[in-house]
């Protein structure tokens, strides 16, 4: 049976753990407000961007479009030998199943493309470390971006987008897939696996209402589209970074809340045990004293 001293020590350490988890929860809760606000304020930009691309596309004839350099981003290269994965994870742990689930999804994806050459762009330390540990795959870490959370801004998305486009245009790459956590609500995150490039399906399916506005274009339509598409991609990546950031904070908040709760329960149990032990000790001592007095007094 543990002595009172041992139990006291144990209670002390659990208490300090609780303090830490509680503090982490509060920090996450404070940051999540800002992260959510960020998502909301990024929305109009990406919506308008999509609308602008849609307008431009509907203004351009199919022929013009095929001839423009921007077409490269749309072209489907089914016979290409390589694929690319953009994996967005967190930098730090202690956020429940946030990273584990992501890595599981990534692993499933990697298994599917086992035979091919795979380029990986890792955002977040956890994902990078995981990918570095993997063996037996034809894997190349093309670019990594760590320590950007919780201060992801547009400049980061721009760099990331630049790298993705550079890789897609430069290499013989069939598709670029994105795996990240979507911020659904404070309690749930959803893992999204989606194709980033080529653009074809997404842009066309985004429901283009043909506005016959007779637009003037400066510079030419093709030039505009070429400049616009990378930006649209970056805006999309920016949204993804923000979503992942908010999702991470939400996951951490929940994980830390349940950790604090568990610690509180543990402390309660330990205190009970300590009191019982103390009571037992006092009773034994009393018994001894009484027994001794009886033996002396006769």
């Amino acid at each position: 049976m543990a002595s009172i001293r041992d139990i006291r020590k144990h209670i002390g350490s659990v208490k300090s753990i609780k303090q830490i988890t509680y503090a982490m929860k509060m920090v996450a809760a404070a940051r999540i407000k800002r992260a959510q606000f960020g998502i909301l304020s990024a929305r109009p930009f990406s919506d308008k961007m999509d609308a602008l691309v849609g307008d431009l596309y509907s203004e351009m004839g199919e022929e013009d479009f095929k001839a423009s350099p921007a077409y490269k981003l749309f072209e489907e290269k089914t016979m290409a030998g390589a694929v690319c994965l953009v994996l967005v994870t967190a930098d730090k742990g202690l956020c429940g199943s946030f990273n584990t689930n992501l890595l599981k999804a990534a692993l499933a994806w990697l298994k599917e493309y086992r035979g091919k050459k795979i380029y990986v762009i890792a955002v977040g330390r956890k994902g990078r470390d995981f990918l570095k540990r993997l063996k037996g795959l034809d894997l190349e870490l093309h670019f990594e971006m760590v320590n950007i959370f919780p201060r992801a801004d547009y400049a980061k998305a721009e760099i990331l987008g630049g790298k993705v486009i550079e890789l897609f245009l430069g290499g013989n790459i069939e598709r670029v897939t994105l795996i990240y956590n979507e911020f659904k609500s404070m309690l749930t995150q959803r893992i999204v696996t989606g194709d980033l490039l080529p653009l074809q399906k997404r842009v066309l399916s985004s429901g283009i209402e043909v506005k016959r506005g007779d637009f003037n274009f400066e510079p030419s339509k093709a030039g505009l589209l070429e400049a616009l598409l990378p930006r649209q991609l970056k805006a999309q990546l920016y949204r993804v970074l923000l979503e992942s950031q908010a999702a991470e904070l939400a996951a951490r908040m929940n994980a830390m809340e349940s950790a604090s709760k568990n610690a509180a329960e543990l402390i309660e149990g330990l205190t009970l045990k300590m009191n019982k032990t103390r009571q037992a000790m006092i009773t034994t001592e009393l018994n001894e004293i009484v027994g001794g007095a009886e033996a002396l007094g006769g």
Binding site: G38, S41, A42, P44, F45, S46, K48, M49, L52, D55, L56, F143, M145, D153, Y154, A155, K156, A157, E158, I159, G162, K211, G213, D214, F215, N216, F217, E218, P219, G223, L224, A227, L228, R231, A235, Y238
Partner: protein, 142 residues
């Protein structure tokens, strides 16, 4: 009929202006400045970093805009810029410091991310300085 333009400036980080009524906008278009008055033909232009200014009655304002696009459609001017800030809010001294810091960062060899972000910081600072200078020349007081 006295029609007005409605001006929206949107950046990825926030909506700077939403449907503000103005009578004249001047955009830093790719091939030179583009003045827009009510009734302008529908246009899509690419912007470069530079100064955007608008007038609304007696009120007027300047913005620094970092490369983006503008769509003019039926008296709606929509500016999608990568960054935009009120010229009034630009601190010349701070911009100059940022410019110097970015230059230094470029000289020291760092990893790719640091270099890229230093480069974009340099560009931003340069535009800010340009705008601060423009304001001084025009004698605009905030």
């Amino acid at each position: 009929m006295k029609s007005k333009l409605s001006l929206s400036i949107i950046t990825p980080e926030k909506a700077v202006f939403a449907d503000k009524e103005v009578s004249f906008v001047c955009l830093p278009a790719f091939e030179g400045e583009l003045g827009v008055l009510p009734g302008h033909i529908s246009t899509v232009v690419q912007l470069k970093e530079g100064l955007l200014h608008y007038k609304s009655g007696r009120e007027h304002g300047e913005f620094s805009v970092m490369s983006g696009f503008a769509e003019i459609n039926k008296n709606h001017v929509l500016v999608l810029a990568e960054a935009a800030e009120l010229a009034k809010e630009i601190d010349e001294e701070r911009a100059r410091q940022a410019y110097r810091k970015a230059k230094d960062a470029l000289n020291v060899k760092g990893d790719a991310i640091e270099l890229d972000s230093a480069l974009s910081a340099l560009k931003r600072a340069a535009v800010r300085l340009k705008i601060a200078e423009y304001r001084r020349k025009k004698g605009v007081r905030s």
